[in-house]
């Protein structure tokens, strides 16, 4: 059985002008030790996806369809009590801002001990011992000293290490990390990412890493899911996605990276911007920005279809699908500005 299986997940937000769908038709499966990256532009739905695993979507958002199965157990319909049990014990979350996890008025040691108490019977002394062990695991300098410090006494990089130590405290099977290093400097980011990668490898922990940094994804994950306007538009092995992206959006993203352009020349930009959820274009959501747009792209939405290596939702990659759908011969639509 898969460790985590997300099936046909849909998340909606009840807004004043009616509900909008922030996620649609998301399918994702992770086994023990799998490391998956979720990438996409701001507003694509990456965080909503991460939060929905533990049903943590805040109102006016809610899971409007689909299943999240954790070792076969449906988390969408689980009680709050059960979700709290699973959270921290089996599934841990790491956020961009460490202060979303840390309590500013408790010492590091106290919050780690509290965490342990919430999940199992353990003496205060033993709990402190476990806490110290985890701090050593995340390679914090002088860990004993940290137990008695408050979050504000630590640097941002150190706080994020503590958050990782807390995430590891119950030996979880899955870590969901939402932009864990976005607020940190590159030298610190490199250290934290290496740490996270090693810990997942050594302890066979599965990782869902939400980020917009393709370089980070390349270094840490084995599989990548690319999201656009609330849907998965491409997924597959990370090195394939990086080396040979197939969806025009993923290709555009890779081409736009300064690393992939000649210094001094203009960058390869994608025109336009991602639509907001209230006015997603009909057909393929990427069609206003796509240089390969055809008639079928404006009418029908392409679904994720397998190629030899990845799954891609694009009529250019699966022309047979578009011919099936279009009544005409799929002639090129005039390119729009």
């Amino acid at each position: 059985m898969a460790l985590l299986s997300i099936q046909n997940l849909e998340v909606s937000f009840g807004l004043r002008d009616g509900p909008v769908k922030a996620l649609q038709n998301i399918n994702l499966e992770l086994n023990r030790g799998d490391r998956v990256g979720i990438v996409g532009e701001s507003g694509a739905g990456k965080s909503v996806l991460g939060f929905s695993i533990l049903n943590l979507i805040a109102k006016p958002g809610f899971i409007s369809n689909g299943k999240v199965l954790f070792e076969g157990e449906d988390l969408v319909h689980a009680s709050q009590k059960r979700l709290r049990q699973i959270r921290g014990d089996r599934i841990s979350m790491i956020f961009q801002d460490p202060m979303m996890t840390l309590n500013p008025v408790l010492t590091i040691g106290d919050q780690m001990v509290e965490c342990l108490h919430a999940h199992k019977k353990i003496s205060k002394k033993d709990a402190r011992e476990v806490a110290l062990q985890k701090l050593q695991l995340v390679q914090i300098p002088s860990p004993e000293k940290r137990l008695d410090q408050y979050p504000h006494e630590l640097s941002g990089g150190m706080r994020q290490r503590i958050v990782i130590a807390i995430a590891l405290i119950m030996d979880p099977d899955l870590i969901v990390a939402d932009e864990p290093t976005t607020a940190l400097d590159v030298t610190i980011q490199a250290e934290i990412m290496e740490l996270l990668l090693n810990l997942c490898e050594q302890h066979n922990v599965a990782l869902i890493l939400v980020t917009h940094d393709l370089g980070v994804v390349a270094q840490v994950t084995e599989r990548t899911v690319v999201m656009y306007a609330g849907r998965v538009i491409e997924q597959g092995p990370t090195d394939e996605i990086i080396k040979a992206p197939q969806h025009p959006y993923t290709q555009g993203l890779m081409n736009a990276l300064p690393q992939n352009c000649l210094p001094g020349q203009l960058l390869n930009q994608i025109p336009g911007s991602m639509p907001n959820l209230q006015n997603i274009p009909q057909g393929c959501a990427f069609n206003p920005r796509c240089e390969f747009v055809k008639e079928s792209c404006l009418k029908e939405r392409p679904d994720l279809q397998s190629t030899a290596t990845h799954d891609v939702a694009c009529f250019k990659v699966h022309p047979e699908r578009s011919e099936l759908l279009s009544t005409g011969n799929g002639s090129d639509v005039k390119e729009r500005a």
């Binding site: 640097s155 400097d185 030298t187 960058l267």
Partner: protein, 341 residues
């Protein structure tokens, strides 16, 4: 070797210290039973010198808190330096009154990371763009002002008929284009851009960077460009200033810096950029804790994290020294030739 033409901007031995000690009563404390005044200072910039040549794009890089924005704000006259000079086109500008600074405000413009900071949410964007044009060109009539605004809007790819809209009706990338338009509207020579693309997505970053490159060509602009994104620097910069804890540790052309970084900090920084090709991260690990600018380390500010630090590094502040390839490096280890290539 002195360049033949005069640099557009010269920063000479700049210091910027912020006083944290508060008012008199906050500072009063007792030492050995006697009253004393406590002093606590942020040493945000400590002896920074560099020039920006006409027509170039000089990038300043470094980690959070190293003083990049403080340099930018001091250059723009938004902060008076604690010590040192800023010269623009040969004239000293750091000690000017608001009135005497006015002509320079037209020649030097600033773009911020958060376009909200420069766009008034309650003003239609046409009004936002007209304001500086009117202010700096008091002799112009309304038609001339309106034509100028049309021109800059078109040049940043925003339809001039959208001028009736408010900032919130635009996407992040469009808002940043509008703040670039606002900077361009007064026909400046020099633009200080403080992390102008850091808040934007990759596909939008490319649009805004291209816009800045095109504007530079079309208008013969000079940029002081601040960022922490090194892949952007490699692409965009003609020369690069690497800062650490309020000091310059290396200054080189972009090509030299990325091919042969010399300062131990520059090397660590470049090695930490996540690369698309490699699987496992391979980078230079820095030990020690990141110091704060409140308690500035003695000697080389990097010595606590540097793998090559020795006794001299802990005492003596290294000076920027010219290297064979034209770059400048402030490091005793490099000067003594004891750091391998």
């Amino acid at each position: 070797m002195k360049p033949v033409t005069q640099p557009l901007l010269e920063i000479k031995n700049l210091y910027q210290h912020f006083d944290l000690s508060g008012d008199f009563l906050d500072r009063l404390h007792f030492k050995n039973g006697r009253p004393a005044l406590k002093e606590e200072k942020v040493h945000a910039i400590n002896g920074v010198s560099f020039n920006v040549e006409k027509g170039e794009s000089l990038c300043v890089v470094g980690e959070s808190g190293c003083g990049k924005s403080t340099v930018a704000r001091t250059v723009m006259g938004l902060l008076k330096p604690t010590q040192g000079e800023v010269r623009f086109a040969g004239e000293r500008i750091d000690d000017l009154s608001v009135k005497d600074m006015r002509p320079y405000r037209k020649r030097m413009q600033m773009i911020f990371q958060n376009p909200y900071a420069s766009l008034n949410p309650r003003m239609r964007i046409r009004e936002t763009l007209e304001e500086p044009v009117r202010f700096h060109n008091p002799e112009w009539n309304e038609q001339q002002i309106s034509d100028k605004v049309d021109e800059v809007m078109a040049s940043v790819g925003i339809d001039p008929t959208w001028g009736v809209r408010y900032p919130h009706e635009f996407s992040g990338g469009q808002r940043q284009r509008i703040s670039i338009a606002r900077a361009l509207a007064v026909d400046p020579e020099f633009i200080v851009a403080d992390e102008p693309i850091s808040a934007l997505d990759v596909s939008i970053q490319a649009q805004v960077l291209n816009l800045m490159t095109e504007a530079q060509k079309a208008r013969n602009l000079t940029y002081l460009f601040i960022t922490h994104d090194l892949s952007v620097v490699e692409h965009f910069a003609s020369r690069v200033v690497v800062m650490y804890l309020g000091t310059v540790c290396e200054l080189a052309t972009s090509k030299t810096l990325f091919q042969t970084p010399k300062h131990p900090y520059t090397r660590a920084l470049l090695s930490a950029i996540p690369k698309l090709e490699t699987k496992k991260p391979e980078f230079i690990r820095l030990t020690g804790e990141v110091p704060t600018p409140v308690n500035l380390p003695s000697g080389c500010v990097f010595h606590g994290r540097c793998p090559y630090a020795n006794a001299r590094c802990m005492e003596e502040i290294p000076k920027l020294t010219l290297q064979n390839d034209g770059s400048q490096v402030a490091c005793h280890g490099i000067e003594e030739g004891r750091i391998p290539d």
